[in-house]
């Protein structure tokens, strides 16, 4: 493949894919490795891609797969589908909610979500993907996507409300 095409594909998509992976996996080195491997694999097999406009979702999918694989391999992070529903969310929020504005607080709350929730939230709200597309993208049942989104939103909602309440008490 011509070097110019490789350059433009990297220029156009690498940063965004890296940032999404970074937000999902919260590990800079892992994201870097996963993205590089994903781009290498995608460019190597680019002939299989019928529509070049689908390059970013395609490479992102590969990058997610690669990152998950790297995580499993190195056991650095535990990416489990088990989600602790009983986790006390108010402890962390208590101090932060008092000091942060709602918006920046929401960003932090997103980053604090458990990996399975964070993954679907990022795909849903960053790429405006439909539930069935997320299911297809992550190779999980659509019901799982819906329940993860519902729970993720509930967690965020609860945290925001708790934070607001504490801000109100403080004032």
């Amino acid at each position: 493949m011509h070097h110019n095409i490789i350059d433009s594909l990297i220029n156009m998509h690498y940063e965004k894919v890296y940032q999404v992976i970074c937000l999902m996996f919260k590990d800079k080195t892992l994201s870097e490795d996963a993205c590089q491997e994903a781009f290498y694999e995608a460019i190597k097999n680019i002939k299989k891609l019928n529509d070049i406009s689908m390059f970013r979702p395609w490479v992102l999918k590969i990058a997610i797969r690669k990152a998950s694989h790297l995580v499993k391999k190195s056991s650095k992070m535990e990416l489990t589908d088990m989600i602790d529903n009983e986790k006390d969310i108010s402890i962390n929020v208590e101090q932060e909610a008092l000091t942060k504005e709602l918006q920046s607080e929401t960003q932090e709350l997103i980053k604090e979500l458990d990996f399975p929730y964070r993954q679907v939230v990022v795909l849903k709200y960053h790429y405006d993907m439909q539930d069935k597309d997320i299911a297809n993208f992550l190779d999980i049942p659509i019901g799982t996507v819906k329940s993860r989104l519902y729970r993720a939103k509930n967690i965020i909602k609860k945290k925001i409300m708790t934070a607001n309440r504490r801000q109100g008490v403080r004032k």
């Binding site: 490789i6 690498y14 709200y125």
Partner: protein, 247 residues
């Protein structure tokens, strides 16, 4: 409730985007170099694998050729070698090259027309060629003389075909090819489909080939090559061959 959900969706939509944007920027140059390096290694490996496989195939074919040629018995049992050997060994090649000093070479005019063979009488044929036609003293009883066909009319040394036929239109053909004519005759016969035997015809070595129902006897006396062919048995063909009376 619905309004709250919509608000949360909007909030998440903008905040997730901001959260993504707030992530540290990657070192694109380093990534580019690494990706290109990986691609180069892949291309090099692919090219190398291609060359290696080509080299292996060439080497294998070469070795097979050498082994088949030298008939190395130690590896004779290897399936592939066995097949290659049988492929070559099962072919009988009969080749005759005739005199190339003949001054004039006759070429049959090229034509798209399909013409039936013209059969002449012995007398007529003898006026057209400059060598004497060998006639058999024996042909099986039911066969009668049908005619002589001159392959290249106008060529005094043209090969001829003597034909004998019976009532069921079976033929015995005796082809005579003068070896003074500029000719190269080559015929490959798969021996696993035919029975082949070497015999003596009037003190000349001859090959007798029986393939399906056709029997063919081939030999030459250094002046003429003879091919006796017909749907008759081996003994009968040999009798016809031996009885050929030529000077």
């Amino acid at each position: 409730m619905k309004q709250k959900d919509e608000f949360l969706d909007k909030l998440l939509s903008s905040e997730v985007k901001k959260a993504v944007d707030s992530m540290p920027s990657p070192d694109i140059e380093r990534a580019r170099t690494n990706i290109k390096k990986m691609l180069e290694i892949h291309i090099r490996r692919k090219y190398f694998a291609k060359r290696i496989s080509t080299a292996v195939i060439i080497f294998f074919v070469f070795i097979s050729g050498v082994l088949v040629g030298t008939s190395n018995t130690s590896i004779a049992d290897i399936w592939f070698i066995k097949n290659i050997k049988s492929m070559f060994n099962d072919v009988l090649s009969i080749q005759t090259s005739t005199n190339i000093n003949q001054a004039e070479t006759f070429k049959e005019p090229e034509t798209n027309m399909i013409t039936e063979k013209e059969f002449l009488s012995i007398e007529k044929a003898e006026t057209l060629i400059e060598y004497s036609i060998a006639l058999p003293e024996y042909v099986p009883e039911e066969y009668n003389f049908y005619g002589v066909h001159i392959r290249s009319q106008g060529d005094n040394f043209s090969p001829i075909e003597l034909r004998y036929s019976n009532k069921s239109n079976d033929y015995i053909t005796i082809t005579q090819i003068p070896l003074d004519t500029q000719l190269a005759i080559s015929s490959n016969i798969r021996t696993n489909e035919a029975s082949i035997e070497t015999i003596q015809i009037n003190n000349y070595e001859a090959t007798i080939i029986v393939q399906e129902s056709v029997t063919r006897l081939i030999w030459d006396d250094f002046r003429t090559q003879f091919i006796v062919e017909g749907t008759i048995g081996k003994e009968e063909i040999i009798k016809v061959g031996v009885s050929l009376n030529y000077q």
